[in-house]
Symmetry: C2
Subunit: 503 residues, 2 copies
């Protein structure tokens, strides 16, 4: 296919070459010059033909894929059906107008999976039990914080966050998590996503490699990708992250993101030898380990394994924690714990990068911890979530037989139900969605060459009624391909009760 | 100087070349092999000698400058006094241990100026009058929000933020700011820094150029630098941003950050022809204009000039607003207004990038706006800040003579007092700091080849007593080089009153 006209003169003077290519390709698709279904040459081939860099071609292709003008499949790239609405089109519809575009990295972040609105659906992972939150106590702490508030609480936060909260949290982590931590090592963040984003930008540079677990937490990929890091998938086995020599040598990491105490989503625990080996290799490679101590608060079976942070002095480990699951996600408070050597500079750089605030909420949280309310709440929720998990296991075994393969039960708010390869998890999830369930496909957290097939079942917000009804519908989704005739789709769903005011 | 040993074998296999160079240079400095005062070769020279890229050398030099091991001056780079504490040293002091390091971009962000802790000092720019905030009304709105809260307010925010707040804000912007805006075009952010960071990552890619005003808002440079953009300074004249053909052709922008309604810090207003021309050229260059409508709420002299956003349909303009100055900074709520074409995708990408929350505060703010409290508060503060500015002008003219050159009086919370070239603004600011004043040097916002010399004087939090005392001390700082003997340094300073509880 002759495509010389894509960069034929006259070229607009002030427009970068990659945008010219994008623009002309797009016009040709929208005008029909390139018909739907037309296969485009591979990026290398087109780059060679036009004597431009392959990145220039990739930029144009990726943007147009993000807009729905092109389709990427295993065979390569082809022109999409004209029905596909261009996501970034000018409202006037004038294809000659210069289109308004998001960046390539934003388009890439939007690519793999549609961003979901938060919702309380049965089996949606990561949803805490909102109704069980001790509102009266929390609001009393907020009241006190407002009553005592001066300009320090109303202005921007001090470097690293409110000193009283950092102190209270250091005490909590020392007693409850066994981390010997000082207040000066803690940086308050607005949650885990903010923490990962700060690690990506303050510890990593553009082009550095960030290792993520495979399968793993999807939002980490977004944080690292938006910060310009190369994301490299490292497989997870029964002992946790299992990098091979090829990973270390061909993709030397700057950041290694792990969830060792309860791997997300499989729920596996990283073994101690694996932890020590990882620290040793990370040191040699000048890499930082980012330890997301996900769900460690909700252990059923004894204390959580010791964190990597603190296993060895001066280890290159940053510890990430959050109050999103233990209190409520909208609070937007979490924290990082850093080695002494970088803590002060990391705190200063965080102030520059984010201009943090929320002084009232930070002071209220310090109060909540200091009065022992937080420990009490965690203990109560641990028992409640353990009971829910037991009930869910029993219901799943009753529904799918005692041999059903479940994992991830030692902690947290979800279970994984593994499926045999002949059953496609994404098809089940698609059917379950129609039935009002928030279950996720294990394969959606997984990248090739790893294969994982199963269902990620959150139970944090499942009361008895929702559990029974949820499992009944799950059976329909798993067992029956033409299930829609049998049960009417839910409109408000079993989540209607949870939408009631809680205050 | 022979420096071949810097990269002599054996090289650690898994360590990138740039870190080896950094590491060996650092060890040589700490061990005394490279003595204090030793001049290092220019980066080009060393790169050529070692047959490595200049970036590799620059990386090592910049890190070591950031750590205080090297000094950069006009003559080049030399080894610092050993007294300088390495900021990223291992706590154990073992120089053979691999040091824990922040990223190059974080070190660069920390470089130009130390991050300041927030404080209420006389003349500190950007500080609102905390005491005048209508606490009772605001807390009543928070109470109502808590009372009505369901899981939607406690969970992660919907894409773009709380729909009720977006609607209320669209109404407010339409009536008060004359922007014909729909709720779907608004994305709630956690303040201006978060908004700039989102624009940098979601509209810009690594290596893209971001124009900033010169002199201009320092925190914008940080946001763009941390996102991997190249920051290019464009001069500001009496009509606002004044790019030349060289700027357009040699540094074609992807982002153009401006403060057109009240340029920060000079206070100048961008002319309408300049606005139209900027939109036109931005269109041709596929650039986005980021319009920070800084301080437009506090205009003294009639309505604010029309925003660039809305001047032309489908213009590539993003409008940035915040509640940090109009309510209080610690609230951490602000917003972006986007063209229809990208609004929905920008909102989805924002959810992925930040996982926003603060549902209670967002709902309370919607309530505060809908009840008319916000407009009332703005009107009241406008009158109060205008009176303060009049008083400050009068006091400065009384103290420094009627010919003192003041600018920036049409809006906002600060004035600029221009100084003749023979008086060094940074020296005055250093003396003023000892006297407990928060005044800033105009030159600290300025990059070569522009020269601006003056004082940026915030008056948002200045009551009558602080104003009189503040100007008295400012006179001492400006007039008297050996002032310290004359007046004892303030311990608590005139800000002690403001530290009292406000609730």
């Amino acid at each position: 296919m002759a495509l010389d006209w894509l960069l034929a003169p006259p070229l607009p003077e002030t427009m970068p070459r990659q945008r010219v290519l994008y623009h002309r390709l797009r016009e040709a698709i929208l005008s029909g010059r390139l018909a739907a279904g037309t296969r485009l040459p591979a990026s290398r081939t087109l780059a060679a033909a036009l004597q431009i860099s392959r990145n220039t071609v990739l930029f144009a292709y990726e943007q147009l894929v993000a807009e729905g003008c092109l389709l990427a499949d295993r065979q390569g790239t082809c022109v999409a059906q004209p029905a596909a609405p261009p996501v970034a089109a000018s409202k006037s519809g004038d294809v000659h107008a210069v289109p308004l575009l998001l960046s390539t990295r934003a388009a890439a972040a939007l690519q793999p999976e549609p961003a979901r609105e938060a919702a309380v659906l049965p089996f949606a992972p990561g949803t805490p039990d909102y109704g069980a939150f001790p509102f009266r106590r929390w609001r009393a702490c907020l009241e006190r914080a407002w009553r005592d508030a001066g300009w320090r609480q109303l202005g921007y936060a001090a470097h690293g966050g409110d000193p009283v909260l950092r102190q209270a949290l250091a005490g909590h982590l020392t007693t409850v998590r066994g981390l010997a931590v000082e207040a000066g090592q803690i940086v308050i963040t607005s949650g885990t996503q903010a923490a990962l984003d700060l690690c990506a930008r303050l510890l990593g540079d553009h082009g550095d490699t960030a290792w993520v677990e495979n399968p793993g937490y999807l939002a980490a990929r977004v944080a690292f990708g938006l910060a310009g890091l190369r994301v490299h998938d490292v497989p997870v086995d029964h002992e946790g992250l299992a990098p091979g020599e090829g990973d270390w040598c061909e993709h030397p990491p700057r950041l290694i993101m792990i969830t060792p105490s309860h791997q997300y989503p499989t729920g596996r625990v990283m073994s101690l030898p694996r932890r020590l080996a990882l620290i040793e290799r990370a040191r040699q490679s000048c890499a930082w380990i980012i330890e997301d101590d996900y769900d460690s608060e909700f252990r059923r079976t004894g204390p959580a394994p010791p964190a990597l942070f603190g296993l060895q002095p001066d280890a290159p480990v940053v510890y990430v924690g959050t109050f999103s699951k233990t209190l409520y996600p909208g609070l937007r408070l979490g924290y990082l714990v850093l080695p002494h050597a970088v803590a002060a500079n990391f705190a200063r750089a965080t102030s520059l990068a984010t201009r943090a605030g929320q002084g009232i909420e930070q002071r209220a949280l310090a109060d909540f911890i200091q009065r022992g309310y937080y420990t009490t709440h965690l203990r109560r929720m641990r028992a409640r979530y353990a009971a829910r998990q037991t009930a869910l296991r029993a219901a799943l075994k009753a529904a799918f037989g005692p041999a059903v393969a479940l994992s991830g039960g030692e902690a947290g708010l979800h279970l994984v139900m593994w499926l045999p390869q002949e059953i496609c998890d994404t098809a089940i999830v698609a059917r379950a969605e129609v039935l009002g369930l928030g279950v996720r496909a294990l394969s959606s957290y997984t990248r090739a060459p790893m294969t994982c097939n199963g269902l990620v079942l959150g139970y944090g917000s499942l009361d008895d009624r929702m559990l029974a009804e949820g499992v009944r519908r799950l059976v329909l989704a798993v067992r029956s391909p033409n299930f829609v005739d049998e049960i009417p789709p839910m409109k408000n769903g079993p989540s209607a009760a949870a939408a009631e005011p809680l205050g």
